[in-house]
Symmetry: C2
Subunit: 142 residues, 2 copies
DNA sequence: CATGGATGTAATGAAAGCTGTTACAGCAAG
DNA sequence: CTTGCTGTAACAGCTTTCATTACATCCATG
């Protein structure tokens, strides 16, 4: 199926909310966001639901409903977004337990977990250093 | 489906080859490696085929056939293994093209590509700093 | 207080990828 | 030539992602 696009969809939504707010738009509906991302509004509502549970956006119900950022875009990092939308780790361990009678089969899973953990931590640090405001600036420049 | 286990399977095979060689085993067959990984020999042959095309292992055909490392385990990094087995990038961009009439839709893909590129590069650097010899040492300690 | 427009969420289906398995052709040492 | 292993294709089962439909719920507004 390929890598999933959840981080992309969520970041796109947040970036669009940040720009709309700057332009004086109080809130955006899932329909309006879906029109920019070019997907179904339900996909957007699911993504924003994750972000709401993580405290990154707020929702208003009833007439005049819609979404807005819960914080300034400078204070939302892509790492928070990643954790909110629950993207799987890039490297999977063995699908079935390796042969524990082999010294390699016995010890390799903890060994690989350490390496994978370091690699993922390095990746997370880069995302922690990037905010929605950074993405918006780069988006408008390009 | 979850993250795939190709890097794990390939690294396991290489680590087992490194240990076997240290013990005086000239080569290992895909059956022997499959017994340690606990999977089907075809999976191992597919993985080792990728590693062979990348120049990390050598294969011997005919009677007494089998596989061995093409280099010292200290000189095979997990980054080379990753590139050999073609693991997908962790973050996918939009599945369908975003709305180009929206300023965010127009500029966000290059912006995200930059961020994702930095994150992946940080991850790759960690893998580049880890060799099969490192994995073997850590495997036997644990 | 009724209403209309939006959210929240379940259910379903299509498409794609990973792993495992079987089958069989090709190769080379003895 | 025989034997044992590699190299690959083909296929099935499982899982995940995304899209879509449907519908209950919520609440500012008139």
């Amino acid at each position: 199926m390929g890598a999933n696009s959840r981080l992309t969809v969520a970041t796109h939504a947040l970036t669009w909310l940040a720009l709309a707010h700057r332009r004086g738009q109080e809130v955006l509906t899932s329909d309006q966001i879906a029109a920019s991302v070019n997907t179904n509004p339900v996909i957007i509502r699911r993504s924003l639901g994750d972000l709401r549970r993580a405290g990154l956006v707020e929702v208003r119900h009833g007439a005049g409903a819609g979404w807005r950022l819960a914080r300034a875009p400078e204070e939302i990092t892509l790492l928070e977004v990643l954790d909110a939308v629950d993207v799987e780790q890039p490297f999977g361990l063995h699908r079935t337990e390796p042969n524990l009678e082999c010294p390699v089969g016995r010890g390799i899973r903890p060994a690989l977990s350490k390496v994978y953990g370091r690699a993922e931590q390095a990746m997370r640090q880069e995302l922690a250093d990037t905010s929605i405001a950074d993405v918006l600036r780069e988006t408008l420049v390009g």
